[in-house]
């Protein structure tokens, strides 16, 4: 993805007052790492001091199932990373400047500056709460933070982040299914704020699909209020179906600013332009093609 496309995503984040971007995927292999790498490259080329962190490798079960290593990031000086102690490479050497209290299966998480170009494996803590703390720590010594999220760790997203939703061809059998998944995730991330004075049922913790279905069955008419979209524990068509029959709201808004598409994988390929246009039309967000370096914008 060209720097200018990545720069536009950064500009969208800055336009809504954010100095961090969390990249989340609708599925595994949705192109999160490629997007994050492109954002990192663009920030580095513009001389921005940025930090990069990721959910822990042990937080992504599919990696363990497939036996594959987490993708590496090609980084240059100017980058600061948070990664597990066991993943700090012997070469090129990193400048380690802090040892955090957060732990992963690969040891404690260290904060380190990139001093020479190289490829680095970034694996943070397995819990969303710990990843948030890591992102905050990185933000203290950098001007911009990138969080490489995970498909099943939406809770790592903070209200302070601009969110980029990565949509890939890999996990969806058809383009329509991939577009549905993207629309559901973006709709969830755009959960409207609760209105003061409205009759409301406040949910402590996460709202599960079973609990939401019970509310639908019981004819709940009050606003069903969760802390934020990360506390809605279901997605996809189930979310779209249940959300259409409940007045779902949140106390803290999240900020999705863009989608990206990865139109091909080893499993299948979608027609890139039509795929991007469909995602833009259904989500109402600008959609950047991870590989073609193009953008599809929603109709005004």
């Amino acid at each position: 993805m060209a720097d200018d496309v990545a720069r536009e995503i950064v500009a969208l984040a800055r336009a809504c007052g954010k100095r961090s971007i969390a990249v989340v995927g609708t599925s595994k292999n949705a192109g999160k790492t490629v997007v994050t790498s492109a954002l990192a490259h663009a920030l580095g080329s513009d001389g921005v001091r940025y930090g990069l962190c990721s959910i822990g490798r042990d937080g992504e079960a599919f990696d363990a199932l497939e036996g594959g290593a987490k993708p590496r990031f090609a980084l240059r000086p100017g980058a600061t990373i948070a990664t597990a102690a066991a993943l700090v490479p012997r070469t090129p050497a990193l400048e380690i400047y802090a040892m955090t209290d957060e732990r992963s299966a690969l040891g404690r998480i260290v904060l380190a500056r990139v001093r020479a170009p190289g490829e680095f494996e970034i694996a943070g803590p397995p819990s969303a709460e710990a990843l948030r703390r890591i992102a905050i720590a990185l933000g203290e010594s950098t001007d911009f933070t990138l969080v490489d999220g995970a498909v099943d760790r939406l809770a790592a997203v903070r209200g302070d982040d601009a969110i980029v939703v990565a949509v890939g061809a890999h996990a969806a059998p058809t383009p329509e299914r991939a577009v549905d998944d993207a629309a559901a995730l973006v709709a969830k991330l755009r959960l409207p704020l609760a209105r003061a004075g409205d009759a409301a049922l406040r949910i402590d913790g996460a709202l599960t699909a079973a609990a939401a279905a019970d509310l639908v069955r019981s004819g709940e008419t009050r606003a069903v209020v969760v802390r934020d979209a990360t506390h809605v524990a279901f997605g996809g068509k189930t979310y779209l179906t249940l959300a259409a029959r409940l007045d779902l709201r949140c106390e803290r808004a999240l900020h999705p600013v863009a989608c990206t598409v990865a139109p091909f994988s080893w499993a299948r390929a979608f027609e890139p332009r039509a795929f991007a246009r469909s995602v833009a039309a259904r989500t109402g967000l600008p959609v950047f093609d991870v590989y073609a370096g193009t953008v599809a914008r929603p109709a005004a």
């Binding site: 012997r90 050497a93 400048e95 001093r115 390929a269 027609e271 890139p272 093609d289 590989y291």
Partner: protein, 535 residues
């Protein structure tokens, strides 16, 4: 930390609480704590020495300074595993050198803060100067980096690597420029998509097709001979940098191995200091005193049971310290809610303090060392283990008692709370008397709280009483629980005094039932029944 106390005693007497309160702040202290064992009979001299050391440290350093020192110690990492690996010949990793640097910084801080008389003989040594100097080029701040300053060859290798990278980047840029000139937008490495309807035909030779689709192709840059040559040179240069970086690590690992014995001594000293400071902080916080330790009586003057004292203080309710002298076996009786159980707990807590080398929260104390601290009666049911679910409360008490008597060896402090309260009073009293006679014959120290009558005289042991309702004037309307408890506390005399068996039945139970808000008619009926009942 395990000790000579039963699990039931650990809970009932606040020993678990005490162990948490005196927990070391750092990993080195926790390692030191694992090496410690509680004082037992025969350790009197060592216990006296340790208690005096802790109390002196508390007095000389004070709460504020001890707290500051604990915070400094808490931040020091435990480098033991790193030192073992260095001594074993491993080449350490950068994270290891970072942690060693943090350890040496922390050691230097603690050493600087413990150079005065307050810490005479217990201050940790100075950090290893040679290792500090060796690490210094990589630690301009408080981090660690295999910096050029370690070795001129490393600096040269990195300079050469940077030049080779620039040459490779230039070669790639030339290829990318030719692709751009053919009308395809520039890409930064990796695979990218080129739409067929927007691509030149044929594709420029600088592109290699990775995958074809009807409407697009997935491509990547194809390196030409010049770029491949630059890439080979870059890989050689990177390998040279890797070797030079590893040489630095080998040098630092060898220096670490040389310093390891001294650092391990420093680890042990820091661990011991952490453990001592934790005890001293407790001593300062609770105004503890060093007890006399001998084989004789167990004597407490104005002793406190801090877990209860703190809980009452949080509710703005008064706490009354207790004083007693226990020559052997004794009975304590008195009103419900009058402090019998608290007295038992205070004894167990004080005995555990001494076993753990902690001065005692009291005005004055004389305490022997015990082989065992045992809790029987209420709260000891769990001692019967998995069988407890199958037993009545009385059965479980007896199983716990049998377990103690079968396993007992050495001198025990036995604390007995309402033993046999759930069986017929006459037979329960007989069992309790027999138990007290047994303990007396064994030479144990024991205190039994009971409402059963004339136990002390029957067993031939001392008798104390605690808790007497002075007066509880009637209230016009029911009080909330907190207010009712405060009113009872104000009306209760918590003094523990020697008594005779006549006081044993004065439990003030019905009066307290009324004070706790039970229905007035209910309470009145209970009083009628009591008046008309045979003794």
């Amino acid at each position: 930390m395990t000790g000579p106390w039963s699990p039931e005693a650990a809970v009932a007497c606040g020993i678990d609480w005490l162990v948490r309160e005196i927990a070391p702040a750092g990993g080195l202290g926790r390692a030191a704590r694992k090496r410690e064992r509680p004082f037992a009979p025969g350790d009197e001299s060592a216990a006296r020495e340790r208690l005096a050391l802790v109390a002196a440290l508390a007095e000389r350093a004070g709460t504020g300074r001890l707290g500051h020192l604990r915070a400094a110690i808490a931040s020091i990492p435990d480098p033991s595993a790193i030192l073992v690996r260095a001594r074993g010949g491993d080449v350490l990793a950068d994270v290891d050198f970072f942690e060693l640097g943090r350890f040496l910084d922390g050691l230097a801080t603690v050493h600087a803060e413990t150079r005065d008389a307050a810490f005479a003989d217990i201050a940790p040594p100075q950090p290893d100067d040679a290792l500090l100097r060796a690490l210094a080029p990589g630690r301009p701040g408080h981090g660690f980096y295999v910096a050029d300053a370690f070795d001129a060859r490393l600096a040269r290798a990195r300079g050469d690597g940077a030049a080779k990278r620039a040459a490779f980047d230039a070669a790639r840029s030339r290829l990318a420029a030719r692709v751009r000139a053919a009308g395809i937008a520039d890409r930064e490495g990796g695979e990218f998509v080129v739409m067929r309807d927007a691509a030149p035909n044929p594709l420029p030779p600088e592109l290699r097709v990775v995958r074809e689709a009807p409407t697009y192709v997935v491509c990547e840059l194809a390196l030409d001979a010049t770029a491949r040559g630059a890439l080979a040179a870059l890989e050689d240069a990177d390998a040279a940098v890797a070797r030079a970086e590893e040489d630095v690590r080998e040098m630092l690992s060898a220096e670490t191995a040389r310093a390891a014995p001294e650092l391990e001594r420093a680890c042990a000293a820091l661990g011991d200091l952490d453990s001592l400071v934790a005890r001293a902080a407790f001593c300062a916080r609770f105004a503890c005193v060093v007890p006399d330790i001998d084989d004789g009586a167990f004597e407490l003057i104005d002793a406190r049971f801090p877990p209860l004292a703190e809980a009452l203080a949080e509710r703005n309710r008064p706490y009354v310290p207790i004083s007693l002298a226990l020559g052997g076996v004794a009975v304590v009786t008195g009103a419900n809610m009058g402090g019998k159980t608290a007295a038992l707990r205070t004894l167990g807590f004080a005995a555990a303090c001494v076993a753990l080398g902690v001065p005692v929260p009291a005005a004055r104390a004389r305490i022997p060392l015990f082989d065992e601290i045992v809790w029987l009666g209420v709260g000891a049911e769990a001692a019967s283990g998995e069988e407890s679910a199958l037993l009545s409360a009385f059965g479980a008490e007896l199983v716990a008692l049998r377990s103690f008597l079968d396993g007992a060896s050495g001198r025990a402090l036995v604390l007995i709370d309402e033993f046999a309260r759930t069986t017929a009073p006459r037979e329960g009293r007989a069992l309790l008397v027999a138990l007290l006679e047994t303990l007396r014959a064994r030479g144990d120290v024991a205190l039994a709280a009971t409402h059963l009558s004339a136990v002390a005289s029957a067993a031939g042991v001392d008798h104390y009483t605690i808790g007497r309702v002075r007066s509880l004037p009637p209230v016009t309307e029911p009080l909330a629980l907190a207010a009712a408890l405060e009113r009872i506390g104000s009306a209760m005399d918590f003094a523990l005094v020697r008594a005779d068996d006549a006081r044993a039945t004065a439990s003030d139970a019905i009066e307290l039932a009324g004070a706790l808000g039970l229905d007035a008619a209910f309470v009145a009926r209970a009083e009628d029944v009591l008046r008309t009942s045979p003794e």
